[in-house]
């Protein structure tokens, strides 16, 4: 047996292993097609992401400037979602608002993910007094209801889109910390981690090779879930007037602006609200699918 041959023999299986994981993913994709709800969710998210990045794909109307004579028109072929009191096209405003909601949610999830998962990993893998201290901190974060905590942070940082997003992110730190900690502890107690120590692995090697990859999935599923939650929370802050300032077409703000016309122009509140709901529902559905895929 020549050296070259065996090297190849080993390289090939490695590629093979990679290809196998790829095919597994393809199989996962095929499973998605059998679930119409999930397909719809992915479609909704794809549309909204496109709207955020390239709003011109969906609408040529201006989201900020409107014509007064078009004011308060009901939904029609010309204005799919109708128009508001200053004659602005509501559909254009919703489309252009996507970037504010999605961007904000992304920032929020990033804050929660980085800080929360960091805390959880530290607490779970080091344990002892540090674990105790960090978890009491998390308890405190949990003891204050999310919206109240976000408002406290906003009062500190000031109003605005980014600050609202950071505030929402801070409210999700606790849950990220809890989930990642319990995942790390679950994996740490697993037989295969004991087997790895038994075969001479150092703590760092076990952490990188076994604990992290196996605890990541639950965190990813949580991130998808928190993405939906963050969109809801950011729109609530926007509605209360602590998020983006007018005339930004942020979704919560859009609904707040429609408040005055609840009696006469139903579309101003109803339609943006339905969009928010569809996006949040889709994110939740996706999260559910991820955690189910993981549980296999």
């Amino acid at each position: 047996m020549s050296d070259q041959v065996t090297t190849q023999a080993f390289v090939l299986p490695r590629i093979g292993a990679f290809g196998r994981r790829l095919t597994l993913n393809l199989r996962g994709l095929r499973r998605i097609w059998r679930q119409p709800g999930l397909v719809l969710s992915v479609l909704v998210l794809a549309l909204v992401i496109t709207a955020a990045l390239r709003p011109a794909v969906f609408t040529s109307h201006d989201p900020i400037a409107g014509r007064a004579r078009d004011a308060l028109q009901a939904p029609s072929a010309a204005h799919w979602f109708g128009t508001d009191a200053t004659g602005r096209d509501l559909f254009a405003r919703v489309v252009h608002g996507a970037i504010h909601s999605l961007g904000g949610a992304l920032v929020a999830v990033a804050v929660g993910l980085v800080v929360g998962t960091g805390i959880g990993l530290l607490a779970g893998s080091i344990g002892g007094l540090l674990d105790q201290a960090l978890m009491r901190l998390v308890d405190v974060l949990l003891a204050v209801p999310g919206l109240l905590l976000a408002l406290s942070v906003i009062i500190l940082l000031g109003f605005g889109t980014t600050n609202a997003a950071i505030a929402v992110g801070i409210t999700s730190v606790a849950i990220f910390a809890r989930v990642s900690r319990s995942e790390v502890i679950r994996v740490r107690r697993s037989d295969y981690v004991e087997a790895a120590f038994g075969s001479g692995a150092r703590f760092g090697e076990v952490l990188v090779r076994h604990i992290l990859p196996n605890s990541l999935n639950a965190v990813v599923a949580l991130a998808a879930l928190q993405f939906g939650t963050a969109i809801l929370a950011i729109s609530t802050l926007g509605f209360l007037g602590y998020g983006a300032p007018p005339p930004t077409p942020e979704w919560g703000l859009l609904i707040a602006e429609g408040r005055t016309y609840v009696a006469t122009a139903w579309w101003l509140t109803t339609l943006p609200g339905l969009v928010v709901m569809a996006v949040v529902l889709s994110a939740n559905r996706l999260s559910h699918a991820i955690s189910k895929e993981v549980g296999r």
Binding site: T6, D191, A195, G198, S199
Partner: protein
């Protein structure tokens, strides 16, 4: 043996109509891969007062068949065709309401794992009374009295106390007795016992089977005994039905099946069962006493803290043992005997309270974490459950190579050659290196775990119940593999097991543990042929078919 051997099923005449007839039963499950047929065209009969054993390994369809008899397949299960007839009246096609009158009243079920088969938030009394209440049996005080009588009947002490207790306060064996009481509460004509002892300790297993036998004799009920263990079936059943892959491969009166098995699979099963039952361990190699000692444990004590104000729990109580190089020593004991704590101390996973452990020249008890890694080069561990001991996200090749990576041995090419060589040693194809653990069978996984343990040439391998999660035929293969490897590589084994039958096949010397102490030790030959303690005798008697 209480078996009344009856005529072969073909000759059952009309006047002795069988109690249960299953005809052409075909079952399937709805899975992600589509509809999967798990039971195909299964037909068998259970006569009145008869014990029929449904024998098969995991995936044989035996449990699904039993579930289909009482129409309690899982939600995704379906009966595609076939009939179930109880005492002449057809059960299949009955309405749910009519079927409920059959369940519990005419057919009782003794489930597989007593530990999660009782409602955890109901008292024992309420759980037992439930079947009586469902079928409107008697008044409240009558039910209360009946519950106490039933508990007494199944041999539970202090019934008045037990009815107020919750399942988690009872041992597994007691829970199974409660479940048996529930199954016989309404004097059913048929008792389905679905692996009734597989979750219990060996000595308890025997008592539970005796209890079922006695109750059957008393009430005249028939028993459909579902089991993976042909030894148990041989001992307890009048007739045996052997299933494999969803089909019946052989059935007939027990004596006939045992002596004139036609099917090669049945013969393999019989062979393995006999090997377990009648293993007469050979005397150990003569030079055993002169060999160097590979593992030496002196006065090992392991206490576990139970919180402030409570006596620490002593899991290991002054255990000493010595294992000669190249030999196999077995530690035998039931759950809670301290065998696992002993192993963890020996391998340095847990610092013992006191005592000295020497493994392959290392004094484990005084090692610092860094030095512990050196110990791992010479002492390796194979865990009980191959389904949890392999990282689900790693390919087999990476799993087997991990010890080499940990100790920085060889380059990538060198390691790949080693992986291929060791996969070959454990009789796995080289192509398996790219697979993920979940694509492998239990036996294959355990081979992978063994390859991982051997790849860095350890002197000592500790095997913690390495075959107890596997099917009987696979168990035998793994034991033979271990034997071959020991001879080839000169390994020293420390073999942990609850099953003396398995131990008899592999070990040279043995320590029997009970409640943290070694109650008996010696060569396996001596211990098997001349046991010194009642406990060892009980363990020996618990080997089915012996």
């Amino acid at each position: 043996m209480t078996a009344l051997t009856q005529a072969a099923p073909d000759t059952v005449s009309d006047d002795s109509q069988p109690l249960l007839e299953v005809e052409g039963l075909t079952l399937s499950y709805d899975t992600r891969q589509g509809r999967v047929e798990v039971v195909h065209d299964v037909s068998f009969r259970v006569g009145r007062g008869e014990v029929v054993a449904l024998v098969g390994e995991s995936g044989s369809g035996k449990t699904s068949t039993a579930q289909a008899v009482i129409d309690l397949l899982a939600d995704n299960g379906r009966r595609d065709s076939g009939r179930v007839v109880l005492a002449g009246s057809e059960l299949t096609g009955l309405s749910d309401r009519a079927m409920r009158q059959v369940r519990g009243r005419r057919i009782g079920l003794v489930p597989q794992d007593p530990n999660n088969s009782l409602n955890p938030v109901k008292t024992i009394g309420d759980s037992l009374a439930e079947v009586l209440k469902i079928h409107g049996w008697g008044s409240k005080p009558a039910i209360a009295q009946r519950v106490l009588d039933l508990l007494e009947k199944v041999g539970i002490d202090r019934p008045e106390l037990r009815v107020t207790q919750y399942p988690h306060e009872l041992s597994g064996g007691m829970k199974q007795r409660v479940l048996i009481a529930s199954a016989i509460a309404l004097d059913p004509e048929l008792i389905i016992a679905d692996e009734p002892t597989s979750a219990l300790d060996v000595t308890v297993q025997r008592r539970i089977l005796d209890l079922i036998d006695a109750l059957r004799a008393e009430t005249g009920a028939s028993v459909l005994l579902v089991t993976h263990d042909l030894g148990v079936a041989k001992e307890r059943a009048d007739r045996i039905v052997v299933m494999r892959g969803g089909q019946i491969v052989e059935q007939g009166p027990t004596a006939h099946v045992v002596e004139h098995a036609e099917n090669p699979y049945t013969r393999t099963l019989l062979h393995e069962a006999a090997a377990v039952a009648w293993a007469t361990p050979a005397p150990p190699p003569a030079d055993l006493a002169e060999r160097d000692v590979a593992i030496e444990v002196t006065d090992l004590v392991q206490d576990f803290d139970q919180g402030r104000g409570r006596e620490p729990f002593r899991a290991v109580d002054h255990v000493s043992l010595a294992v000669a190089k190249g030999s196999t020593h077995a530690i035998v004991g039931e759950s809670g005997s301290g065998k696992t704590s002993t192993v963890r101390a020996i391998l340095g996973f847990q610092r013992p309270t006191s005592g000295v452990v020497r493994v392959a020249g290392h004094e484990v008890t005084s090692l610092r974490p860094r030095q512990l890694r050196d110990l791992r080069r010479s002492a390796q561990l194979v865990l009980q459950n191959p389904y949890s001991s392999l990282d689900p996200r790693q390919a087999v090749g990476d799993i087997v190579a991990e010890p080499l990576v940990n100790f920085r041995l060889g380059n990538r090419a060198e390691r790949s050659r080693q992986v291929a060589a060791y996969l070959d040693k454990v009789a796995l194809p080289a192509t398996i290196a790219q697979r993920l653990p979940r694509e492998l069978s239990g036996g294959q996984r355990q081979r992978v775990a063994i390859a991982r343990a051997l790849i860095i040439h350890p002197e000592v391998v500790v095997l913690d119940e390495p075959v107890s999660a596997l099917d009987v035929t696979v168990q035998a293969q793994i034991l033979r593999l271990l034997d071959d490897l020991q001879r080839d590589l000169g390994l020293t084994y420390l073999f942990i097991s609850h099953d003396l039958g398995v131990v008899g096949q592999i070990s040279d010397t043995v320590s029997v543990m009970q409640s943290g102490r070694v109650v008996e030790h010696g060569t396996t030959h001596e211990v098997f042929s001349d046991p010194q303690t009642d406990y060892t005798r009980e363990l020996l008697a618990a080997i089915p078919g012996r």
